[in-house]
């Protein structure tokens, strides 16, 4: 899938014209929020539980290399095959070669954000290996060739009419219907046949527990369980930040994840694999591969502040909580990760230069931060990226600012740190700045700062500076005292 993060503004404008989608975006997020709040209310102390989630993920990140080694050691002792990949290419190549070597014709897939990131499906399809996404939403998104609209409901916005037409075309839906339940059932029957005969299944990983070498998947549909139970070969792909110290920690995180995601106490299926099937088991994988993908994370890890983004457990809560996402939906962000989660993650994975508008498209209201169960401070990260960008930090691949802007700020910083020049400047600039003021409000400007006023107003500047007014007040007062 083409990465379109650089077209954010254009895409957002386009999405804003989709009335049906906007209506949908008005209706669904409040429901999600209500469910989420009801879910959290079942915890004895929700804020403490969230603080604990933040502490667990912070610890996991602080101890990342050590935990990865521990996970690998235990997983290997349990008979899993652990494979490391520097980037998308290496991960995809390993899976493609494995599939070729085993003579695989098609695979079923559980929803996995990291393979979305590495665009694994395209690589397999190029080799003539069919890929069936089996999460209903992901299945629809895949057939429509779209990125996920929402991380939890990847195609939740797609109108039923479109789903119906798609199913008629792609899966031979016999009786056209607009009933979501019947449509879902048609997909069930179609994918069931795939599960029945599948020889290799690919899944993501929600958590990898270091203590026991166990991987955990959380889902409602059962497609991941099928993908892990039915075929003799299982490949589970994880980005390297998925590790959790202990099983007990993992269960706490599962509690938070399910509530934050859908408001459930527990998702319908939480499956935990600690190794391939034993000899006398009839189902489950004979071979179980864990592919640990770096793809830029070890680099993000070098920066202690930016490292915070690696805490994310992909619950998706910050999306529906974000006033921007609630207007434009998930497509405008141009890649697998959307909403505040994508706005903090994509700039680190793709570079600040390719994501210029992502970390600027925020009001810094902090809704995301207040919802996040692992304590990610999105607004401070946006500010951090913005400053890294203008300071032209080569580690973050910042984009060079335009010449005029750089000159302007050079003069600005000189003036701002030179008192006499500053005082002179603010006095002289007043009439110039206030010339377009109407009723004390400036709402437009001509020249380079024109764009700034597109969505914003500025109160006009007072007639006198504070210093001038102060002097005047003191003068009047001292005169008043004399006359007493």
């Amino acid at each position: 899938m083409e990465i379109k993060t650089e077209q954010f503004t254009e895409l957002a404008k386009k999405e804003l014209k989709n009335d049906r989608q906007r209506l949908f975006l008005k209706l669904i997020p409040p429901v999600m929020r209500m469910k989420r709040e009801a879910g959290f209310s079942t915890l004895p102390d929700a804020p403490a539980a969230m603080a604990c989630g933040a502490a667990i993920r912070a610890e996991a990140m602080a101890r990342l290399p050590e935990l990865l080694e521990e996970f690998e050691k235990n997983a290997t002792a349990n008979g899993m095959k652990v494979v490391w990949a520097r980037d998308d290419k290496e991960a995809n190549e390993f899976i493609r070669n494995l599939a070729k070597e085993k003579g695989i014709q098609y695979v079923t897939k559980g929803k996995s954000m990291v393979t979305e990131e590495t665009a694994l499906n395209e690589v397999l399809e190029e080799q003539g290996i069919e890929v069936w996404e089996t999460d209903l939403g992901e299945f629809i998104a895949q057939q429509l060739h779209r990125t996920p609209f929402h991380i939890v409901g990847p195609a939740i916005n797609v109108p039923v009419e479109e789903v119906r037409d798609l199913f008629i075309e792609k899966i031979g839906l016999k009786e056209p219907t607009l009933d979501p339940v019947k449509l879902g059932y048609a997909a069930r029957l179609f994918l069931r046949d795939k599960f029945h005969h599948v020889k290799m299944g690919i899944t993501g990983v929600n958590m990898a527990v270091a203590e026991t070498g166990t991987i955990i998947n959380v889902e409602n549909e059962g497609n991941i369980r099928f993908t892990k139970a039915s075929p003799p070969i299982q490949v589970s792909v994880m980005s390297l930040e998925k590790v959790i110290p202990t099983m007990k920690d993992a269960l706490h995180m599962v509690r938070l994840l399910c509530r934050s995601c859908t408001g459930q106490r527990l998702s319908v299926y939480v499956s935990m694999d600690s190794g391939p099937k034993k000899k006398d088991e009839i189902d489950g994988p004979e071979e179980l591969y864990i592919v640990i993908v770096d793809n830029g994370r070890s680099k993000i890890y070098q920066d202690v502040k930016a490292r915070e983004v690696l805490r994310c457990i992909r619950c998706g809560a910050c999306l529906a909580g974000c006033p921007v996402w609630r207007q434009i939906g998930g497509y405008a962000y141009g890649w697998a990760y959307s909403g505040p989660m994508g706005q903090v993650l994509n700039p680190m994975l793709l570079g600040l230069d390719k994501t210029q508008e992502l970390y600027r498209a925020s009001t810094l209201c902090g809704a995301c931060k207040s919802i996040c169960p692992v304590g990610i401070d999105h607004p401070s990260l946006f500010l951090y990226y913005r400053s890294k960008d203008v300071l032209e930090d080569p580690n973050f691949k910042s984009k060079e600012r335009p010449w005029a802007e750089r000159q302007f700020f050079r003069i600005w910083s000189f003036a701002a740190s030179t008192p006499w020049l500053w005082n002179l400047g603010v006095r002289m600039a007043r009439p110039f700045i206030n010339k377009d003021a109407r009723d004390g409000i400036i709402s437009k400007a001509i020249g380079p700062s024109e764009g700034w006023f597109r969505n914003r107003d500025l109160p006009s500047m007072a007639g006198f500076t504070f210093h001038d007014r102060w002097k005047k007040i003191q003068n009047t007062e001292s005169r008043g005292q004399k006359s007493e």
């Binding site: 602080a62 990949a85 939740i156 599960f195 549909e221 039915s230 527990l266 490292r307």
Partner: protein, 223 residues
């Protein structure tokens, strides 16, 4: 080559600056932890009902079989797949099947994965399993997968009937985790928590049951 990629990544991570992390705050205990047995059972039943799980309660295994007969009649069961776990074994399903004219298959009847998959996907009208645990914190049952508890039996048929001895009911997940994962050398190849029927809301947020797994889950509580 694999070795070097691994080392390269780990070396890079280890070279990064160290960071402190906050201490874990104190968490108050879950309310299920202070419940007595009957309260716990009542809580569990409430949770199950919320998730649209049908609950029957039997005082012992013979009564559980009677309940099962009623269920079989209601659901029109003729051919089912049952696991061979210790709970199900206590029911003596082969004898029950003969009496009620229901064909009982078990994963062991099949020589290989292919024939077993054909049966569990296309023939079994229901899957009958025992459970290793039940958790009152949510509508959750826990199954340890091994040679006696095959994975697809509780997943592929459209109906899952779970036999839950009440003495396997615990207040919170941690108690299960301790037993199942306490000895890291003896972790089961797979362990699963199941809370109700398979479901989705992926088309326009409309919830429906039976997406890929069972559309209906019936729990028979024994004891």
């Amino acid at each position: 080559m694999e070795q070097s990629v691994r080392d390269e990544i780990l070396t890079k991570l280890k070279a990064a600056p160290k960071a402190a992390f906050p201490a874990r705050p104190h968490l108050p205990p879950y309310k299920t932890l202070s419940m007595d047995r009957e309260q716990l059972i009542a809580e569990f039943i409430t949770r199950l009902t919320e998730e649209a799980v049908v609950v029957h309660r039997a005082k012992d295994f013979p009564e559980a079989l009677e309940k099962l007969t009623v269920v079989a009649l209601e659901e029109g069961l003729k051919k089912v797949m049952a696991t061979a776990d210790d709970v199900v074994l206590r029911l003596d399903l082969p004898a029950w099947g003969k009496k009620n004219d229901i064909q009982i298959m078990t994963p062991r009847d099949f020589p290989d994965r292919e024939s077993y998959r054909d049966a569990v996907f296309d023939q079994a009208q229901a899957g009958i399993t025992g459970v290793d645990f039940a958790v009152a914190e949510s509508a959750t049952i826990g199954l340890i997968h091994n040679q006696d508890q095959a994975r697809l039996v509780s997943l592929a048929p459209i109906l899952h009937i779970a036999i839950v001895p009440v003495d396997r009911l615990v207040p919170v997940y941690e108690q299960v985790i301790e037993k199942v994962f306490g000895n890291k050398k003896q972790c089961p190849s797979q362990f699963v928590f199941i809370s109700g029927p398979s479901m989705t809301g992926d088309i326009q947020g409309v919830l429906f049951k039976g997406m890929h797994g069972p559309r209906k889950v019936i729990v028979i509580l024994v004891g």
